[in-house]
């Protein structure tokens, strides 16, 4: 049962939620709310942005400043909000399709700018909302309604993508580790820059039914049995790592945050006195 101060962040008026019972995204909602509460955030100073997808329906349930935008574009909206008001805490929740397919360009540019937003990517390896089509993170060989013979498109590694594009905090956990998810989101919020927390989520309804993970528990067990912490992964061969989920914190570094640079520019040209 969530703590009372966590429950305060839920828009009870908007319940019941639309997720299937047992959807992995609920675990992530709880982890995000615990992280926000424990980081001392205020609801009226916190923005939760999203695109379109099952994952992206999350902001509706959070009693903060919430914006459910267009498919893949949420980071561009969030960038505008953050630049307009850098005091706001911004969490952008995205699905794997939202973030890496239609929104891939906005994702890499948000990483490049190092703008102070925490992106929580809810990766269930599938397009859940539209009925189980393949996404850019569907594993090779996995079945989807648009990959009936198994996916042949190589998947993205979201954390490597974020690291390469310049994000200053990058971590991955699975929904089988809710406390670690919460910790990484807290670390992401504490980072003054663009943070990416990829959380491996589950869609038993769409992904599971085609890939032998029919129940929510099948998925949790799969994540438990196939996760490898970074330290251990470093000693393993690529063959051994095949099909494994490497978890941990990949990037923690400091470079100037974008809105800080812009506010400095305003001071330089005297706009702060305007």
């Amino acid at each position: 049962m969530p703590r009372p101060e966590v429950l305060d962040w839920l828009r009870k008026r908007f319940f019941p939620h639309m997720w299937c019972p047992g959807c992995g995204h609920g675990i992530i909602l709880h982890a995000i709310l615990r992280a926000l509460v424990d980081s001392g955030k205020k609801r009226e100073e916190t923005v939760i942005a999203s695109g379109i997808g099952c994952s992206s329906r999350m902001p509706g349930y959070i009693d903060a400043c919430t914006i459910h935008t267009t498919h893949g574009r949420s980071l561009a909206f969030a960038t505008g909000i953050k630049l307009a008001n850098p005091e706001l805490t911004i969490v952008d929740v995205m699905g794997d399709g939202d973030c890496t397919a239609i929104g891939g360009n906005h994702f890499i540019h948000a990483c490049r700018r190092n703008i102070g937003i925490t992106a929580v990517v809810m990766n269930n390896n599938i397009y859940g909302m539209t009925g189980g089509q393949a996404s850019p993170t569907t594993p090779l060989g996995a079945k989807a309604t648009t990959a009936p013979y198994g996916a042949i498109d190589p998947p993205f590694d979201i954390c490597k993508l974020a690291q390469g594009a310049g994000a200053t905090y990058v971590a991955r956990a699975t929904i089988a580790q809710p406390v670690i998810c919460e910790q990484y989101i807290k670390n992401g919020l504490a980072n003054n820059g663009f943070s990416v927390v990829e959380i491996i989520s589950s869609c038993h309804t769409q992904f599971g039914r085609k890939n032998n993970r029919r129940t929510p528990l099948d998925n949790i067990n799969f994540f438990r049995n196939n996760s490898v912490p970074i330290a251990k992964a470093q000693g393993m061969t690529p063959e051994d790592l095949e099909g494994k989920i490497v978890t941990g914190e990949f990037v923690k570094r400091e470079t100037p945050e974008y809105t800080r640079l812009y506010l400095d520019l305003i001071s330089r040209v005297g706009g702060n006195k305007a």
């Binding site: 008026r13 400043c65 459910h68 267009t70 574009r73 005091e87 040209v269």
Partner: protein, 377 residues
């Protein structure tokens, strides 16, 4: 004292926006609109505003909507291909009732078309470009002075009605230099969005006030918590499948223009009182048309001039009224026929309509329009 400047249309439009209170611009470069972004990048930080060059036009309008949600008057500017890219998020701004100004400096199309040549081919896209029913407000300036003025009007309408407003400029106007009389800041009438007066817990972001049927808007960061979505929603902003709520929301979006049409519609006329024939033109073409009409008058031809300043809502009742006396309307456009359909709709068969269409990257010559007037007279 008003100041005199010698500006390009794009520059004038940018300064007009700043005078209107625009403090946020998100955009992506594209000819022939880029000067607007360039002026904004230089001027906005000087007035504690925000400029950001985004990764594409989709992101440009998204950031602009974000800037508005966080409380700024916000604008984006583009041209043809970029205007196409912006359509989906433009729809979000209609549905979520976020005030923004979107400028399209029209060039020839389709596709990459004619990046450096004038056209008027986006008139219907302005009205119907984004999917779904929505109420469009679009201005078409026809002088550099007016670029400044419509920027202010566009922001006023966006803020008043809590919706996007379009400015349909064109390549010739955007790049032409003319004298601009810049009014004193104190002489401008500026409208700011209506803010909620209730407590944060009672705020319903989509509940209209009974007196004007328009909902007040909070900003993210000013103490209110609310939900924004592109899904059709109820007064709390929460997605709905309830037929009554859907009908209420959908009709209210249309009513912004239906109910306030007379307050929004603008047009200009000359010599229409005794006119037996009227030339109806907008944007840069209207300049050519006016010069032809004056020359024809000098030759004792009873011809008048009508210029829609708002393409949307279209001044249909006004044109209908004039068509009762003037039996012929000449409609020159730089397309194969877009606004002419609105003229036809307006006159209900009361006047004959003569189309002039030019699609070669150039502007009409006054002599061409004069020739048509003489032929029809």
């Amino acid at each position: 004292m008003p100041r005199i400047e010698f500006w390009q249309g794009n520059v004038s439009l940018a300064y007009g926006a700043i005078a209107a209170g625009c403090r946020f611009f998100g955009g992506y470069p594209i000819t022939p609109s880029s000067e607007i972004a360039e002026v904004m990048s230089e001027e906005l930080p000087r007035v504690n505003g925000r400029f950001i060059q985004m990764e594409d036009e989709i992101a440009g309008i998204a950031a602009t909507i974000g800037g508005s949600v966080a409380g700024y008057k916000a604008m984006t500017a583009t041209s043809g291909p970029g205007f196409s890219l912006k359509q989906e998020n433009l729809g979000l701004a209609y549905m979520a009732e976020i005030p923004i100004v979107v400028v399209d400096v029209m060039r020839g199309g389709p596709s990459t078309g004619l990046p450096t040549s004038i056209a008027q081919q986006d008139v219907m896209q302005a009205r119907w470009g984004t999917h779904g029913d929505h109420a469009t407000i679009a201005y078409a300036p026809s002088s550099v002075q007016e670029c400044y003025e419509v920027a202010i009007k566009a922001f006023n309408m966006a803020e008043r009605f809590r919706q996007p407003v379009l400015i349909m400029s064109d390549e010739v106007l955007g790049h032409m230099r003319e004298k601009v009389v810049v009014p004193e800041a104190g002489d401008l009438t500026l409208i700011d969005r209506k803010k909620p007066a209730c407590s944060p817990d009672d705020f319903m972001a989509y509940k209209p006030d009974p007196e004007d049927n328009l909902p007040p808007m909070a900003s993210f960061g000013d103490g209110y918590r609310w939900h924004i979505t592109g899904l059709t929603h109820n007064e709390w902003g929460f997605p709905t499948n309830c037929a009554t709520e859907i009908a209420f929301k959908s009709a209210r979006l249309m009513d912004k223009v239906n109910v306030y049409r007379d307050e929004i519609v603008e047009y200009e006329t000359e010599s229409v009182e005794d006119a037996e024939m009227i030339v109806v033109a907008y944007g840069s073409v209207a300049r050519t048309a006016l010069s032809a009409v004056r020359q024809a008058r000098a030759r004792n031809i009873k011809v008048g001039y009508f210029r829609p300043v708002t393409l949307w809502p279209f001044p249909d009742r006004e044109i209908e009224k004039l068509s009762e006396k003037a039996g012929k309307l000449i409609v020159p456009e730089l397309n194969f026929g877009q606004m002419i359909h609105e003229v036809e709709r307006a006159v209900h068969g009361k006047a004959g309509i003569i189309q002039m269409s030019l699609v070669n990257g150039e502007l009409f010559q006054p002599s061409e329009i004069l020739g048509k007037i003489e032929e029809v007279a």
